[in-house]
Symmetry: C2
Amino acid sequence: MLKMARKSRASGSSVENGSMEKQADRIVQTLKSKKLRVTPQRFAVYANLLDRTDHPTAEQILHDLNQNAPTSSQATVYTSLQALRDVGLVREVLLEEGVCRYDANIAPHHHFRCKSCGKIEDIAWEQFQGIDLQRLRSGLKVEDYELTVRGLCDRCDRAS
Amino acid sequence: MLKMARKSRASGSSVENGSMEKQADRIVQTLKSKKLRVTPQRFAVYANLLDRTDHPTAEQILHDLNQNAPTSSQATVYTSLQALRDVGLVREVLLEEGVCRYDANIAPHHHFRCKSCGKIEDIAWEQFQGIDLQRLRSGLKVEDYELTVRGLCDRCDRAS
DNA sequence: TCTTAAATAAGAATTATTCTGAGTTTATAG
DNA sequence: CTATAAACTCAGAATAATTCTTATTTAAGA
Ligand SMILES: [Mn+2]
Ligand SMILES: [Mn+2]
Ligand SMILES: [Zn+2]
Ligand SMILES: [Zn+2]
């Protein structure tokens, strides 16, 4: 069970290229910098999330990780996600009722969700500069904000 | 069980004032206009939601309605909310993981959520005019959007 | 290498929501 | 004012997502 993380840190086998190793090292350093122990399960969850941009659910991550060899239990995927969220390495994205999605992109950004296929896409922060939060009711102290845009993605728009 | 809706339509008793009646009539008309049958339970759910601005959960509505006499079952509160949402008379507000809140304010508006006490407050649509959706990646067809602002409310800001 | 606080995992528990099916009610048409 | 049929309600069962419990294992520092 430990193999994977070990392997990523040890100098790789024949087919592995250097960039994957470097990425693994970066993940290890990131976790350590947050005082999180580097376990194979936690590593796998975070690496998986960093590797995708589709804002998966816990269930989808679990399925993806265990699709070949068993890697993490359900409970561990949930607690890994909580730990990663608690230290600010991942955030949750709430756009549908009863569905909690996760995102390793912690830079401020907005989201677009296709009403037809459910696809979620990041919108760069710079896309919406003009937002003037000063005009909010006085008394409210703003810490952060985010825009949610809904509509049709390319594919679904064409199909309809 | 039927009493409440009947009473609201019949010419009122001694203590009732006219505006409550008118409000009840308006609700009845609104439901009819959406081709929803006017049942006491559905009326109660919608009236309750129109009467508050705190974006309650289904559970909170249920509790509120049944606090004196039994009014609606849990299943009925859920299906009433679904029916009201399906015809566009209420919308759901998703700001916390695993919590679905409801809102009878269907005019476009934004939300503020206090990170400390969880209070949710509406932000008028006009507050943020400057948002330029044209700058979105071409290919995405925008249908609507909403801003979520997080921070501290008056009370929590003062207390901290 | 030793030590131990932290993490994992299987399965039970909890919680929110939906489903089922039998009985009731609303709205309408005669 | 009835009769009728589709729509609705409700109790309780079912489902699904997430959390909890606890015994066992492990990462990482001394
Ligand atoms: Mn994102
Ligand atoms: Mn609102
Ligand atoms: Zn789509
Ligand atoms: Zn507050």
